[in-house]
């Protein structure tokens, strides 16, 4: 039973079609990576799943609660502290116990000792952790992340994934877009390949490698070969 399911999504910007009949779903505890070249429609797909944009065609059936949303650029107020940002969004999310939610997120992100620091003085990695924590404040069944690791160094990236993998135990479905094909292979249960707004593949990383049928290629090589086969 999918927690979130989109069917036949079409999105147009003027005459350009950003999405062409894309369908995608995520079940409890599943991690779905959306990969594809630049301009493939990854951000558009995630923003439609998050409810930020409306599709021109197609439907999205959401989780019981709203999906948590983590934009690519940290959506935080630089002049507010970590705790104040969390508190503000906890209130806007109408969390039953605001202070408890803030405390929980500070512990979960490992930023309890930075709670009173303004966002503007944090590193990019820590900002992203707060960014993700805000997406998780309302304890959503589905967390949507748009290229969450794009601005992070390898160490920060590793810590981010430790944090996200920890969500599996809570049954949270994670749908994320990424440029990093290795990241998709390592952390995703399923990958969705988009190119020019078209859904080219949806399955496990292993299935993608099998589909390409080029022994000796790593996953990235298989992905590139797959795109070539499909004319991209």
């Amino acid at each position: 039973m999918p927690l979130i399911e989109a069917t036949g999504l079409v999105k147009r910007y003027g005459t350009r079609e950003a999405l062409r009949g894309v369908s995608v779903a995520a079940t409890e505890g599943e991690r779905v990576a959306v990969i594809g070249p630049n301009g493939a429609g990854k951000t558009t797909l995630l923003s439609i799943l998050a409810g930020i944009q409306r599709p021109d065609e197609g439907t999205v059936s959401g989780p019981p609660g709203r999906a948590g949303w983590v934009p690519q650029q940290a959506a935080l107020y630089g002049k507010l502290t970590v705790a104040e940002n969390l508190r503000l969004f906890a209130r806007l999310e109408r969390c039953a116990d605001v202070e408890a939610a803030v405390e929980r997120m500070l512990i979960q992100t490992g930023l309890a000792d930075r709670a009173d620091d303004q966002i503007s003085v944090l590193s990019g990695g820590n900002r992203q952790r707060v960014n993700i924590a805000i997406g998780l404040l309302a304890e959503p069944a589905v967390l949507l992340l748009d290229e969450p690791s794009s601005a992070l160094d390898p160490r920060q990236r590793e810590r981010l994934w430790e944090f996200l993998l920890g969500l599996e135990a809570q049954g949270t479905a994670v749908v994320y877009s990424t440029h990093d094909v290795q990241e998709a292979e390592r952390h995703a249960d399923r990958v969705v390949v988009l190119a020019d707004g078209e859904l080219l593949f949806a399955g496990s990383p292993g299935e993608l490698e099998q589909l390409v049928g080029t022994p000796g290629h790593d996953f990235e090589g298989a992905f590139v070969a797959f795109l070539r086969q499909r004319g991209h």
């Binding site: 709203r66 959506a75 806007l92």
Partner: protein, 460 residues
């Protein structure tokens, strides 16, 4: 919305420099504008040389003594006199001292009252053929603006003094005419005291009495009839001379009537201008900046995906900007009330004008912020828009062609500055039209609010 307000106030509190600039800059600018509008040029310093001996400063007009110093006071209403002490001094030396002050720049002009001014005026009222007295003015034209001001002021006040003297002389002439008609005593010191004037009326009575003693139809009686007719004609015509002489004294009367606008004192209007300008800068910049900041912080998409509606977000920004600027506006009014006479009884109207103006400017600021989308671009656009709006609204009728003035009025009506100025003028000065200005502001608030809401569709 409450939590967004708290958040914005926290951000403002942590940007003290921005907050200070946002409040202090427009307040300073507006107060400067206010003073510039409310204060005319300072009274120019003018050296005053009175060569008339103290014992000759009084003029006797038909038995009435007039002190010429009273007429000098008229002049001093518009100048700051630097009196040169001429007592027991050579008149030329005294005048030269005044001219030195002009040359040195101590004073802008020197006004010299000649010693024979009383004597000549006395001669004139005695109907002697003498040249009228001449007051000399020497001035420094290094500063053309001040020189023009001095020239205009002295000429204008000299005209006032002339008019006052003319009125007095006319009164004297009329008293002589009354004497001719009615008869009476007149004091003529040159002839050794009072002399009696018979007058036309008494002459008529005497002639009629004499005529009655003559035989009817006699030649002498006919001759006296002619004398009586002439006397009657002269009396009737001289009775009309009062109005004619008064008309000569003031041939053109000035009757002023205000067709449009109130009778607002310039200083009070300057307060309305200062407050309207401050409200405009603070509100437009704050509303535009805080809205554009939501986009720059990437928070807008996160907020409007179910946490806050775009309309509620706009309302929050409008409320924040309007509340901050209204507080600044009210504080300004209270501060300016220390210098300018404002009616505290109208305080509720001040609040209404400030509140309506703030909301109008807030809506404009939101439209600017939503269209510009970046804080720096929004601030620049707000600034570039605000200044011309203020200038346009202050262009007086008659300063430009009527067609251009109509265009300016139409443009001004599309933005909140002019109706805010009208509302503040009405609130402060009972200039009328408060309800119309408030309705105008209400309509503009809705219109710019709708524009901002539309612009938010491409904001994320």
């Amino acid at each position: 919305m409450r939590w967004l307000l708290v958040k914005d106030l926290q951000i403002l509190r942590r940007s003290p420099l921005l907050l200070a600039l946002l409040v202090i800059y427009p307040v300073v600018i507006s107060v400067l504008i206010g003073f510039a509008l409310s204060r005319g040029p300072d009274k120019p310093r003018v050296a005053f040389v009175n060569l008339v001996p103290a014992e000759q400063s009084e003029l006797d007009l038909a038995g009435e003594s007039i002190d010429l110093a009273d007429y000098a006071d008229t002049l001093f209403e518009s100048i700051d006199p630097v009196r040169i002490d001429c007592e027991d001094r050579d008149p030329e030396e005294c005048q030269e001292e005044a001219l030195d002050k002009v040359r040195d720049g101590d004073v802008l002009a020197a006004l010299v009252i000649p010693a024979d001014v009383t004597e000549r005026l006395q001669a004139l009222q005695s109907l002697q053929a003498v040249e009228p007295p001449t007051v000399k003015v020497f001035f420094n034209a290094e500063d053309p603006v001040k020189a023009r001001y001095v020239e205009d002021t002295i000429k204008s006040r000299a005209q006032d003094a002339n008019a006052a003297l003319t009125t007095k002389l006319t009164e004297v002439a009329l008293s002589y005419l009354d004497l001719i008609v009615e008869g009476g005593d007149i004091s003529l010191p040159l002839l050794g005291g009072d002399i009696e004037i018979l007058g036309l009326e008494r002459s008529d009575a005497i002639v009629r009495a004499a005529q009655a003693q003559l035989p009817p139809g006699s030649e002498a009686r006919r001759q006296l009839d002619r004398v009586l007719r002439f006397g009657e004609l002269a009396r009737e015509n001289l009775d009309l001379s009062d109005e004619i002489l008064n008309t000569i004294g003031t041939p053109i009367k000035i009757d002023t009537e205000i067709l449009e606008g109130g009778t607002t004192p310039l200083s009070s209007f300057a307060v309305a201008v200062a407050v309207a300008i401050s409200l405009m800068f603070v509100t437009v910049l704050l509303a535009a900046g805080t809205l554009a900041l939501e986009r720059e912080e990437n928070a807008f998409p996160r907020l409007v995906r179910g946490l806050v509606s775009p309309t509620a977000l706009l309302a929050e920004k409008a409320l924040l900007a309007a509340a901050c600027s209204a507080a600044v506006g009210i504080l300004m009014l209270c501060g300016l009330a220390l210098f300018v006479d404002l009616d505290w009884g109208r305080f509720p109207l001040w609040v209404a004008g400030v509140a309506a103006g703030s909301l109008g400017f807030a809506a404009l600021g939101l439209a600017v912020g939503a269209l510009a989308r970046e804080v720096r671009a929004a601030s620049l656009l707000a600034f570039m828009l605000a200044l011309p709006l203020a200038f346009l609204a202050l262009v007086p009728s008659g300063a430009v062609s009527s067609a251009l003035y109509d265009v300016i009025r139409a443009v001004s009506a599309l933005f909140p500055f002019k109706p805010t100025l009208d509302a503040m003028d009405a609130a402060l000065n009972d200039a009328g039209g408060m309800a119309g200005a408030l309705a105008h502001l209400g309509a503009l608030t809705l219109a710019f609010g709708a524009l901002a809401r539309l612009a938010l569709r491409r904001f994320g």
